[in-house]
């Protein structure tokens, strides 16, 4: 094993992705430009143009073709990558299901962005949450360093023979994609490449020496069993995600878990959220703690498979859990996609907190420390009056007040 040497670079999360893709020696990249993802692909193009990465770049004419092309490349055994956001992810949607159904280890990053209409180029997680049932492993990072580390982990997870499912790594559009942070990247990619060795022969590929038919039609007597294999693969992925993160930590000194907690042990109330605004939440927690409130924070890092064991353990001692979602499931009473998950997980638990679902940061409506402080205040008031709402609170929308 080669000793890793780090260099500290000022990178935004988009560039952090590009460095990880280069360091993992990706073979084929296909992508279509969409704000705020564009600089990921620009940077990778630079690496290829300079000979720092030996890969084929396919400048496709749409996101649908981007994912289709990497599906084709993965099917012959290449390590593949694509990146998109918002409308691009929507255009890919059909192929999202096929990439996982064909059990191809595609890795994709998402600079999360709100969905049209009205068109918005700014951040929320409406795009990512829409992919919930596509059978992609979905990780959400909260810093550029974590983005770099998670993309590396993603290749190892996706290509694990126990898994063979595509992996999506999401982070905040603009708030992270265009915000520079210090990031430690490998000076020489060798140790990273040792961590994610290539072994295309460990899975079924299109090879004239050993012909296979990939993507046949399955009639009612077969379809269900094939899809059930995906259910099982997702279950195994839950452990593999943790295993890979732990191994990464052992090897490189950084690991993240499937959830991250902050000052949670003695907390009565906690806020759970995901992505870059967890930093804002931590600041708010510090401020609330200094005024005597026992508040903690939880960050969801793994959305699919859903880390129910860790969530249940983390929240059971709380009186109130405020789930701050960054997407809306229209028409649902509890309209926060993650709040829904958590409430369904807690339903059968005897020891559980009250859960308050809140929508924040929709279309990148600013979320400050003060917002979290006010939300906790409101939540505690509801708790005291025994009237925690049974529906989502649309925090910060003009013309609607709660209390």
């Amino acid at each position: 094993m080669t000793e890793v040497k780090w260099k500290r670079l000022p990178l935004n999360s988009n560039y952090a992705v590009a460095y990880a893709v280069k360091d993992c020696d990706v073979d084929v990249v296909a992508a279509y430009p969409i704000t705020p993802q564009t600089t990921v692909v620009e940077k990778i193009s630079e690496f290829i143009a300079n000979g720092e990465l030996d890969a084929e770049m396919i400048h496709v004419e749409s996101e649908h073709s981007a994912l289709s092309a990497v599906v084709g490349a993965a099917a012959v055994g290449a390590r593949v990558f694509t990146a998109t956001a918002s409308q691009g992810l929507e255009l890919m949607h059909e192929i999202l299901h096929i990439a996982s159904g064909l059990r191809l280890p595609v890795v994709m990053t998402i600079a999360a962005r709100a969905l049209s209409a009205p068109i918005s180029i700014w951040c929320d997680y409406g795009d990512v949450m829409n992919t919930r049932d596509t059978s992609w492993i979905t990780l959400i990072a909260s810093s550029a360093q974590e983005v770099y580390d998670t993309v590396i982990q993603a290749f190892k997870i996706a290509e694990d023979p126990r898994v063979l499912l595509p992996v999506m790594v999401a982070y905040d559009g603009y708030l992270m994609s265009h915000t520079y942070e210090p990031v430690y990247v490998a000076e020489d990619p060798t140790p990273i490449r040792e961590f994610v060795p290539k072994n295309p022969k460990s899975r079924i590929v299109l090879d004239p020496e050993k012909p296979v038919t990939m993507g046949p039609i399955a009639r009612p007597e077969w379809y269900y069993e094939i899809k059930y294999q995906q259910v099982e693969a997702m279950k195994r992925a839950y452990d593999v995600v943790k295993e890979v993160d732990a191994e990464f930590g052992k090897r490189f000194g950084r690991s993240y878990g499937v959830i991250e907690t902050y000052k949670l042990e003695d907390a009565d109330v906690a806020v759970l959220t995901y992505g870059g605004i967890f930093g804002t939440l931590r600041e708010a927690i510090d401020a609330m703690r200094s005024s005597g409130l026992k508040v903690g924070g939880i960050r969801l890092r793994l959305f699919r498979p859903f880390p129910y064991r860790e969530i249940v353990d983390a929240v059971k001692h709380l009186k109130l859990l405020i789930v701050a979602d960054r997407a809306i499931s229209y028409g649902a009473r509890i309209a926060g996609p993650v709040a829904m998950e958590i409430m369904s997980v807690l339903y059968r638990e005897s020891e559980k907190p009250e859960v308050m679902s809140v929508a924040v940061g929709i279309g990148q409506r600013t979320v400050t420390e003060q917002d979290f402080v006010e939300l906790v205040k409101l939540g505690l008031k509801f708790l005291e009056e025994k009237r925690v709402p049974n529906e989502t609170i649309y925090w910060g929308v003009r013309g609607v007040t709660y209390g």
Binding site: G72, A73, P216
Partner: protein, 317 residues
């Protein structure tokens, strides 16, 4: 007729890579086309198949008719998937993960819906990027797999289930999209049209397309469909032959800018011979047929002008 490689059918490889036992309709010419294509291509071939008749009829899990590696992803993206396959093979050869001396043919196979319509954007992208892929379009002139709905490849006045003939409508209102011309406008190295009734011409074009080294090749093959065109299954090749004899279908190739009609038709038959044996044109009046005939006459004139001599002759019967 192109006779570059094979001078008789006996010279074709005996090996079969398209296995019998598939569920294509009786008389379906797609089976004829794909069988010939794979004979010419041989075992070192990867086929990317768009959703369509051939895909569903040849791969009912756990069975397959394909003795070479084959992949189906979706309807509109055979060209994009094939682009990815090609790029991957290129880079894996460079990195030593695939034997760099091994030539692997990459064939995208799609019907008219998957090419003229829903797959058009992906096809244009693949052609513009110049991937080394042979794209074979089997054109049965409607969405046959879903039950004979109109496509951009459906000819003028043809009945389909979505362009029925009634008191107001008389089949499809628009002529067929000139897909091979549009592909040729991408200035790719090789474009050809082929007809399974002119078998040697067709297999030689497959071979030529597979040997082109400097970019994509596109072969547009007419594929008579007994189910959708409404004719007796034993007449598939007769119908196909009549298409060329009436100049409803002209076999040509454009090889690096050089245009040739590969099957000249010195004496041309009237289009009524082609139309009257198909149920999909049953509703046509003599007037309608004359309108189609005038359309063909103009096309023949255009092609003859392009060649610089009369390769398609006058109407004689």
């Amino acid at each position: 007729m192109v006779e570059r490689y094979y001078k008789s059918i006996a010279e074709l490889p005996r090996e079969e890579y398209f296995a019998p036992g598939h569920s294509l309709c009786a008389g379906c010419a797609a089976g004829t086309i794909v069988r010939a294509l794979l004979k010419v291509a041989g075992p070192n071939t990867i086929v990317v198949n768009a959703t369509g008749c051939v895909e569903v009829a040849t791969t009912a899990y756990p069975y397959t008719a394909w003795r070479i590696p084959w992949i189906h992803v979706a309807f509109e993206n055979a060209a994009s998937v094939a682009s990815g396959v090609e790029a991957a093979i290129k880079v894996l050869k460079r990195k030593g993960l695939i034997d760099p001396n091994k030539k692997i043919n990459i064939i995208a196979l799609a019907g008219d819906g998957g090419t003229y319509d829903i797959g058009f954007q992906a096809l244009s992208g693949m052609l513009e990027r110049g991937h080394r892929v042979v794209y074979v379009l089997y054109d049965n002139e409607a969405y046959m797999n879903t039950g004979i709905q109109r496509s951009g490849g459906t000819p003028l006045f043809a009945w389909t289930t979505t362009t029925p003939a009634g008191r107001v409508w008389r089949g499809k209102h628009q002529p067929k999209k000139p897909i091979a011309d549009i592909v040729a406008a991408h200035r790719i190295p090789y474009v050809a049209t082929a007809n399974p009734a002119y078998y040697l011409d067709m297999v030689n074009k497959f071979r030529r397309a597979l040997e082109v080294e400097d970019g994509p090749a596109f072969i547009h093959v007419i594929q008579p469909c007994p189910t959708g065109w409404r004719f007796d299954p034993k007449l598939s090749i007769t119908v196909a032959r009549l298409a060329t004899e009436t100049a409803m279908w002209i076999n040509w190739e454009l090889d690096h800018g050089e245009f040739r009609v590969t099957v000249p038709v010195p004496k041309r038959k009237h289009v009524k011979h082609y139309l009257r044996i198909q149920g999909r044109f049953r509703h046509l009046t003599d007037q309608d047929i004359e309108e189609i005939q005038r359309f063909i006459d103009r096309e023949v004139e255009r092609v003859n002008k392009l060649v610089g001599k009369e390769v398609i002759g006058p109407l004689v019967e």
